[in-house]
Symmetry: D2
Subunit: 287 residues, 4 copies
C-alpha cells in the first residue's frame, strides 16, 4: 500500500479554521491518492495553520497542472498559500563559503552519497581556498572577492548567479560576509545560515572567544533563516556539546566544527523535505 516511489509533498499555510484537514484529506482521497504522511499545526498565537502532506498519486501520469485545477478551489476557499513538490525533482542549492571548510566538506559528502537529495549547481566564495574541494566533487566554483568598495558589485554578481542557477535555496556554510537586506528580502525563507553559537547567546563574530570568556559548560550552533535583522532570523535547528574549563577558544572552535556541520546538515535536510515553515520570527517544523 505504501511506497516511496513517485511521492509528492503538499504544503499549506492559511488562517486556522474548522475543516482544513478534512478538506485536504478529502480531496486527495477522492482523487485516489494515498496519504503516506500528514502533519499539521495551528498556532494559537497567530491563528495560522500549517500543514505538510506526502502522498502517492493514484495515477502514474499525475500532473501538477491537473492538481492545481482541482485543488485550486479549496486553496481559494481557505485562503491558502500552497505548494506541490515532486520528490523526484532535486532542489537546487547554492552553497556559499569563505575559508572554513568543515561545513562544506560535510554538505558535499552528504550530497555525493545522496544523504541530502539535492543538486548543487554552484559554490560561491569570497576566497579561493576551497576551490580544490569543490573541484573534486565536480561542482563549479565562483570566486567573488568582497571588499568594502566592491560589496555592491559582488552582491549583484551573486544575485545573478543565484538566478542563473535557478537556486531554490542558498546555504551559507560559514560565509563570513553579511548579506544586504535587499538580498535577504529577495529570498525570504530561502537562505539558511549556520551561526557558531547557541543563539540568542553570543551573537556576533567571535562566539567561541565569548564562550571561553564567559566559561559556559555547553557550546552550541544554530541554523536559521537569514533575515535583514542579523542573527535574529527564525531558528530551524540547534545542537549543543559539552565544554569545560580546560578548553581554549581554539578547542571550543574545534568541537564547534562538528556541532556546526551536523546542525547545518539537519536544517538543510528539514528544509529540503519541506518540513520548515517561517512563522514570524519563529519556525514551525513538521516532523
Amino acid at each position: 500500500m505504501t511506497s516511496t516511489k513517485h511521492s509528492f509533498i503538499l504544503t499549506v499555510v492559511c488562517p486556522d479554521t474548522v475543516g482544513i484537514v478534512a478538506a485536504v484529506a478529502g480531496y486527495l482521497t477522492a482523487e485516489g491518492h494515498f496519504i503516506e504522511e500528514s502533519t499539521h499545526f495551528g498556532d494559537p498565537d497567530t491563528g495560522t495553520f500549517f500543514m505538510r502532506t506526502r502522498f502517492v498519486p493514484g495515477d502514474e501520469n499525475f500532473a501538477r497542472s491537473a492538481f492545481a485545477a482541482g485543488f485550486g478551489e479549496i486553496g481559494s476557499r481557505f485562503g491558502m498559500d500552497w505548494h506541490l513538490y515532486d520528490t523526484r525533482i532535486l532542489p537546487r542549492v547554492l552553497v556559499m563559503v569563505s575559508k572554513h571548510d568543515h561545513c562544506l566538506n560535510d554538505l558535499l559528502y552528504r550530497y555525493r552519497t545522496g544523504a541530502l537529495r539535492m543538486a548543487i549547481p554552484a559554490i560561491v566564495s569570497n576566497h579561493m581556498d576551497l576551490a580544490g574541494l569543490a573541484s573534486w566533487h565536480k561542482v563549479p566554483y565562483f570566486h567573488i572577492p568582497v571588499t568594502p568598495e566592491s560589496k555592491a558589485a559582488a552582491e549583484a554578481r551573486l544575485l545573478e548567479i543565484a538566478e542563473d542557477t535557478r537556486a531554490d535555496l542558498i546555504v551559507l556554510a560559514r560565509y563570513m560576509q553579511i548579506l544586504s537586506p535587499a538580498l535577504c528580502q529577495k529570498y525570504p525563507g530561502r537562505v539558511i545560515n549556520i551561526h557558531h553559537s547557541f543563539l540568542p547567546g553570543f551573537k556576533g563574530a567571535r562566539p567561541y572567544h565569548e564562550a571561553h570568556r564567559r566559561g559556559v559548560k555547553l557550546i552550541g550552533a544554530t541554523a536559521h533563516y537569514v533575515t535583514a535583522d542579523l542573527d535574529e532570523g527564525p531558528i530551524i535547528e540547534q545542537t549543543v556539546e559539552r565544554a569545560d574549563h580546560t578548553m581554549s577558544p581554539e578547542d571550543l572552535a574545534a568541537i564547534g566544527r562538528d556541532v556546526e556541520s551536523i546542525t547545518l546538515a539537519r536544517a538543510v535536510k528539514l528544509h529540503l523535505d519541506h518540513r520548515v515553515f517561517a512563522n514570524g520570527q519563529k519556525t514551525v517544523v513538521l516532523r
Copy 2:
C-alpha cells in the same frame, strides 16, 4: 480557535488503506468539531494504520454515546479498533513498588503537581518500606507479601485490587517480582515496567553489575509494556547517561536512578496522552 478545554482524544487502529484520514477528518468536521492535533502512521511491514486525533467538540453537551452512534459506521467500514477519551476524566493508575523509592517519589511528585494528570487509587507493594511516602501523598498502600508459596494468592489479591480500583494502567515502578503470564494477558498494553538497562543489552536482574563488568560508556533505562516474554515487551521510551571507568556498580546504579525515573515518567505521560500503540513486539508513538 484553539482551546485546551473539553478536548477529546480519538484513537484508531485498523488495516491500512486509502481514505482513512479523509473519513475521520471529514466526519469530525461535518459534526462541527475542531481538530487540534492529528497524527497517524501506516506501518508498511504489518499493513496496520494508527491514528490519534485530539479535537474540541462543536457542542458543549457533546456525548460519547452520540459520537459512537455517528462514527460507528466509519469504524465498521474500515474495521477500526477505535476509542474515544474525555481528557477531563483522569485515568486511574495503580502503582506497584518493592523497596526502591526513586521512581515512586518521582511519580508521586508529578502526580501531586499535576504534571502527570492521573488518579492513583492505590500503591501495591510486597514490602512495607514505602508506606510512609504513600501516606504523605494520601494514597492507600496495600502490602501484599510474596513468597514462593504465596505467589498465586498474592497475584489473585493484586488482580482484585486492580479490578476494585478500576485501574486503567498498572505501572511497575521498580517492582521486583515477575508477573504471571495470566496477569500480563489480562492487561495487554496496560502494564508499564521500567527496566534498569538499555535493552536489549543487559536483560536480567543485575544490569548495573553487568554494565560495570562489560565496561560500557553509557548506561540506560528502558520503559516497556509487560508481556509474558520477560524483558521482550514493546519498548516505549529509552534514555541513556554517560558512564566511565571510575564508577562502581553502585555509582552506575545511582546515576541509573535518575535515568530510570525520567524514562518511566516520560513513558507514563505518553501512555496517558494516548500516544502509544502496541504494534506486535514494537510500539508506535504518535507525538
Copy 3:
C-alpha cells in the same frame, strides 16, 4: 588498597609554577597517606593553579591539626589557599525557596536518600507554600516575608539564620528575590543559584516566555555562583532539553522544571565534593 572510608579531600589554589604536584604528592606519600584521586589544572590565562586530591590517611587517628602543622610549610612556600575536608563530616546547606517546589522536592529526595551527602539545617522562604514539604522531611522552615519596605530587615534575618545554622553553602532553589551585594560578598563562592535558562541567553525574570517568543529549539538551565552582578556569576553546570514549535511557555516551563532540578542537583553535588573552584568570572570543575 583503595577504600572509601575515612577519606579526606585537600583543595589547593595558588600561582602556577614548577613542582606543585610533586610537593603535594610527595608530602602525602611521606606521611603514609594513600592518594585515591588527584586532579589539577593550571589556567594559562590567569596563571592560577587548582588542585583537588582525595586521600586515605595512613593513620586512623589522623588529625587535621597535625596535617596543618606539617603541610603549612608547603602551603606558605607556594602561596597556597588550601583547605582540608573530612568526608565524614556533612556540609551544612541552607536552602532558600519561594513558591516553586520542583527543585526543593528533588533536593530533599536526594538529601533523604543520601544521594546528596549533606545536612539541611533550615529551609528559608518568603512564602508559606512549601512548609508542608519541609515538615515531612523534618527540616525546620523559616518564613521571612519580603516587601520593598522589609527587604533590609529580611536580609538581616536571613544572615542571622545562615550564621546560626553555620551554613557552609546556601542554595537558591528557585528563590525569586535578588540578594543584596552585601550578602553576596559575605558568602563568595558559597551561594548557588539555578537560573531557568541557558545563560547567557535569556537573562531576567521570564526566560521561558522569552524562549517561546524567540522560537528556540533547545531550552536550558544554568547553575551558577551568585555574585553582585546578577546572572553573571561563574557557571557551574548547564543542561538543555529539546523544545519545538508546539510548546507554549507553560509547556517549556514544565520541561524546564526537570532540567532545572537535575542541573541544580549536579552543581550542588560537584560543590559538596569540593570539585568547583571560582576562577574570576568562570569556574574550574575538577572531575
Copy 4:
C-alpha cells in the same frame, strides 16, 4: 608557564600501591620539567594503577634516552609498564575499509585539517570502491581482495603492509572482514573497530535490521579494541541518537552513519592522545 610546544606524554601502568604519583611527579620536577596535565586511576577490582602525564621538558634538548636512564629506576621499583611519547612525532595509522565510506571520509577530513594529528601511510581495502577518495587525499591505497580461499594469504599481505608502514595503530573504519585471532594478538590494544550498534545489544552483522525488528528508541555505535573474541573487545567510546517507529532499517543506518563517524573519530583521538588503557575486558580513559 604553560606551553603546548614540545610536550611529552608519559603513560604508566603498574600494580597499585602508595607513592606512585609522588615518585613520578617528584622525578619530573627534580629534572625541571613542567607538568601540564596529570590524571591517574587505581582500579580497586584489579589492583592496577594507570597514569598519564603531559609535561614540557625543562631543557630544549631533552632526549628520550636520557629520560629512560633516569626514570628507569622508578619504573623498576614499581614494576611499571611505561612509555614516553614525543607529541611532535605523528603516530602512524593504517586505515582499513570495505565499501562504506562515511567513516573514511570523516577520518580523512580530520586528517587533512589536522583535527586528528596522525600520519596515514596507507589505506587497505578488500574492494576498489574507495580508491578515488584515498587518491584525492594523496594516501596510498592497497587493494587486498578476500575470498574464503585467499583469506590466509590476504592476512599475510595485510600484516606485511602494517609492518612495512610501521603502523602504530590500525583502524577498522567499517572493514567488513573478521581479523584472525593471530593478527589480533599481534596488535593488542592497537586495533580499533567501529561496531554499528550500542554493544552489548545487537552483536553481529546486521544491527540496524535487528534494531528495527526490536523497535528500540535509540540507536548507537561502539568503538572498541579488537580482540580474538568478536564484539567483546574493550569499549573505548559509545554514542547514541534517537530513533522512532517511522524509520526503516535504511533510515536507521543513515542516522547510524553520523553516529559511527563521530564515535570512531572520538575513539581514535583519545587513543592518539594516549588516554586509553586496556584493563582486562574494559578500558580506562584518562581525560
